[in-house]
């Protein structure tokens, strides 16, 4: 059973509000090592400089969207197995299906609850302590 506090998370969203909300939820779950990036490109830079265990990413972002980020992560061996949870709206079913092709680990529909997000993460890592 992994410890939430030992899992590093990168939150990717172009909206400051969403990043703050996600960070807030993650902290409530027990995550300590949380950093942020405003788009896919910045996220990739961040990951290349320092890998993370988990990426929670929005889809629609300027410059480099969530799918492109997912593909980039999966194609780079040192960070290939980064857990990737996609944030999505209800209408984005096709998108999630494409994300599945690229190896997304899980998705989470906005708006989410703290408990909902926790479950999504636990489905990837196993129960958190």
């Amino acid at each position: 059973m992994p410890q939430a506090s030992s899992i590093s998370v990168l939150v990717v969203d172009d909206q400051l509000t969403m990043r703050a909300l996600i960070r807030n939820a993650l902290q409530q779950i027990g995550f300590k090592d949380v950093r942020e990036a405003p788009d896919g490109e910045e996220a990739l830079k961040s990951l290349l400089a320092k890998p993370a265990n988990l990426v929670i990413s929005d889809f629609n972002m300027p410059k480099m969207d969530g799918l492109a980020l997912l593909r980039a992560v999966r194609s780079h061996p040192p960070i290939r197995q980064t857990a990737f949870v996609m944030l999505t709206g209800r209408a984005d079913r096709e998108l999630v299906q494409r994300a599945v092709q690229f190896g997304v680990n899980n998705y989470c529909v906005k708006p989410f609850t703290v408990q909902g997000l926790k479950e999504k993460i636990e489905q990837v890592f196993g129960q958190l302590t």
Binding site: Q15, T17, M18, N24, H76, Q97, G103, V109, P111
Partner: protein
């Protein structure tokens, strides 16, 4: 839950930006810009507002945003053609969305009927076959189920909520850790950027490199791209930087120790890892660049896994295009191209929370105040030194000169911190134009120019009102109705141009319309009818145009609630003048009118002329002074029992003794004994102010009289001079007016009223 409240505040701040982006994008679309990037940005703005609103359970906002988003999604996918008409509709929808945001924030209400009608109009676009024209759709949608219930219900958030079978993929942290091993732990990239001090202290980079090589094999790359040509070379400056790849098991501490003795004389970055991030990133970006998704994933030949020759990797600081790793030749050309534009936009628009710091404005105000004190102190010091008769060539005097230079620069830089582009004011105007055009039945298109022109925050806050009035006036009185325009052979849609520019140390705002221009005959007759001017006065065209700024003047036959909102142009003019600004209008019949508003760039400092009057020191704003002169006796002519005028070239200007006007003395000395400052009031009226002596020009820091004492007629503000004395800043207009009121028989009653 305090934290959530704080996030909510952030959300509304972000909404402001998103709404501005939305409007900007839609305006571009209305101009015919239809590229996918613009549409995407517009979509993203609405989508983001909806997303945040959903998180806070702001139902009405979510519902409206959802309808809007659905339409934009259809435009994005090409189902609904992207037309100029559609953009116009969506612009109105963006106004409704903005109202919803304000309502959610607790500021104002939404006209729910108008919102529902707008929503129906938007829906009609996505489904034109099913829906009759907007007006008729309303009834139908009432019983329709609310579009996509945005769940606030946590139970609804399970795996099945997107309606297909999805198995989350599990991952183990250990496996991730194993992958991370792929990143060599004993390779370091050290970038060394020596400062000139390093060499001045007789250190030498070669020694440092030799020292580094004791830790393990190194590959050093020198970057001399900053090296200027010989003629510009400063022999004592440091131009060259190094990037060194070190393979060592000794760790970061050992590397740092090498640089122990040059600490502070050299910028140092020690990063674990092989290639600089940029090179790997460029590779990854180029690998996913082609739009064939499947192919990219399978075919990507793990470009970064190849040991990248770090020796040739780009030094991050270097200007030169990055020599991309040889392992992926195909990527070489594409990589810099892909990475470069991103960098540019990033510099323009720093990501939220990235390189922008939010600072409490009060801190900046305090800083500006302090710098103001510094300027005064510096001036005082300089004056003392002058009094002691120290030679200007002495080290002390020269040091003081440098200090003055520095102080100026600090002041400019600090003022620049508070400077803001006028964009924040401008971006509210398209909506205003749409609303006024709707209300008056005119067609108007707003063209904006110079949104990035910067002014001090103190000025920006005061720009909004006059611009609003000028725009209202331009549309309401300037533009003709579409029919009239057609009849005149013009495009039925009128163009209103709002522009900001810097001109001689001031900010100038122009509002220009291509309407009918001012009907001078009518303006003149109204002014006569209202007793503002006498019927036999001769006025130039320009003087007639500017009659509209007279108190009590309104050309509209019935007062429309659009133009004035109960406030005439005279009030606008007075508030502008109170800021040290001026406003005027020029007009060409049939072609349109132009309002010109000019304001000082800041309300914190002022260029002034220091003068002596009856033993008091006063500062006259330089902007008001046309010239200064010593009058000859024959140029002074008496006028009436007490007054006199001065002949300046071919005109006469009233002479005003400042000492008398401000009550410093009861009899004025002969003007020929003093100095005359020819000043021009904000309304263009001239006067000759008599002072005893001129001390010279100086930049002074404005200290408000109202805040520290009370308002005094004839005095605009106060300042502190170099010798520590308080000096009053003259309010030129007030002094001119003071004299007018007191003088028993004004020279030309009609003209004075007309000014």
């Amino acid at each position: 839950m305090d934290e959530l409240e704080a996030i909510k505040v952030t959300f509304f701040q972000e909404c402001e930006e998103l709404l501005a982006d939305l409007e900007g994008g839609l305006l571009a679309m209305q101009e015919g810009v239809g590229d996918i990037e613009t549409v995407n940005a517009v979509f993203r703005a609405v989508h983001s507002i909806k997303g945040g609103a959903g998180a806070f359970g702001l139902e009405p906002l979510v519902r409206f945003a959802h309808v809007f988003e659905t339409l934009l999604d259809a435009v994005r996918s090409g189902e609904v053609p992207n037309t100029v008409d559609l953009a116009a509709v969506m612009l109105r929808a963006s106004d409704v969305l903005a109202d919803h945001v304000s309502a959610a924030r607790g500021l104002g209400d939404v006209d729910m009927a108008a919102s529902a009608a707008m929503a129906d109009e938007l829906k009609a676009w996505t489904d034109p076959s099913a829906a009759p024209p907007p007006a008729a759709v309303a009834a139908e949608t009432v019983d329709a189920p609310p579009p996509a219930p945005v769940a606030a219900d946590p139970d609804a958030l399970d795996d099945d909520d997107l309606g297909f079978d999805f198995q989350p993929m599990t991952i183990s942290i250990d496996a991730q850790a194993a992958d991370a091993e792929l990143i060599p732990t004993n390779v370091w990239t050290v970038s060394i950027r020596p400062k000139s001090d390093l060499y001045r202290k007789a250190n030498e980079t070669a020694l440092l490199l030799r020292e580094l090589s004791r830790l393990g094999p190194i590959v050093a790359t020198m970057d001399d791209s900053a090296l200027p040509t010989l003629e510009f070379l400063d022999a004592e400056a440091a131009y060259v930087t190094w990037s060194v790849r070190v393979e060592t098991d000794d760790g970061e501490e050992a590397i740092r120790e090498v640089f122990e003795f040059v600490d502070g004389d050299c910028e140092l970055d020690i990063v674990r890892g092989e290639a600089p991030v940029e090179a790997a990133l460029a590779n990854l970006l180029s690998a996913i660049e082609p739009p064939a998704p499947q192919a990219a994933v399978q075919a990507a030949p793990e470009p970064v896994a190849e040991p990248a020759p770090v020796a040739s990797a780009p030094e991050p600081v270097a200007e030169a295009p990055p020599p991309v790793v040889a392992a992926a030749p195909a990527a070489v050309a594409a990589a810099p191209a892909a990475a470069a534009p991103a960098k540019v936009t990033q510099a323009d628009v720093p990501g939220p929370g990235q390189s922008v710091i939010r600072v409490d404005p009060e801190r900046i105000d305090r800083l500006i105040d302090l710098v103001g004190e510094l300027v005064i102190n510096q001036a005082m010091l300089a004056q003392r030194v002058g009094e002691y008769g120290i030679a200007p060539s002495s080290n002390l005097a020269m040091g003081l000169d440098e200090l003055e230079q520095l102080t100026r620069e600090i002041q400019d830089s600090v003022m620049a911190i508070r400077a803001q582009p006028v964009k924040s004011v401008f971006q509210r105007m398209p909506r205003l134009v749409r609303e006024v055009a709707n209300m008056t039945g005119k067609q108007a298109r707003l063209v904006m120019d110079g949104e990035n022109t910067e002014v001090d925050k103190t000025v920006i806050e005061r720009l909004s009102d006059p611009i609003t009035h000028m725009l209202r006036n331009a549309i309401d009185h300037g533009l003709e109705s579409p029919e009239e325009r057609r009849a005149a052979g013009k495009n039925p849609e009128g163009v209103v141009r709002l522009a900001a520019l810097h001109r001689s140390g001031r900010i100038v705002i122009e509002v220009q319309d291509d309407g009918k221009g001012i009907n001078r005959e009518r303006v003149f007759s109204i002014a006569v009818k209202k007793g503002l001017i006498s019927p036999d006065v001769q006025l130039t065209d320009e003087e007639i145009d500017n009659l509209i700024f007279l108190p009590g003047f309104s050309t509209a036959d019935k007062i429309s609630d659009v133009s004035g909102r109960g406030v005439g142009m005279d009030v606008v003019k007075r508030s502008v003048q109170a800021l040290g600004g001026r406003i005027s209008i020029t007009s060409r019949p049939g072609l349109g009118s132009t309002f010109t508003l000019s304001l000082p760039l800041t309300l914190a400092v002022l260029d002034g002329m220091v003068v002596d009057v009856a033993g008091e020191t006063l500062v006259v704003p330089l902007a008001a002074i046309v010239e200064s002169l010593r009058p000859k006796a024959e140029e002074v002519r008496p006028l009436g029992p007490v007054g006199s005028v001065l002949a300046v070239r071919d005109s006469f200007v009233p002479l005003i003794d400042v000492g008398l006007a401000l009550g410093y003395r009861n009899t004025s000395p002969s003007p020929t004994e003093g100095v005359v400052l020819l000043v021009e009031g904000e309304d263009g009226s001239r006067a000759a102010l008599v002072a005893d002596a001129i001390h010279g020009q100086r930049q002074v820091v404005i200290k408000s009289l109202e805040q520290n004492y009370q308002q005094v007629e004839g005095v605009a503000a106060a300042t502190i001079l170099g010798d520590g004395r308080v000096a009053l800043i003259l309010d030129v207009d007030a002094v001119i007016n003071l004299r007018r009121r007191e003088s028993p028989r004004p020279t030309e009653p009609s003209l004075i009223a007309a000014e």
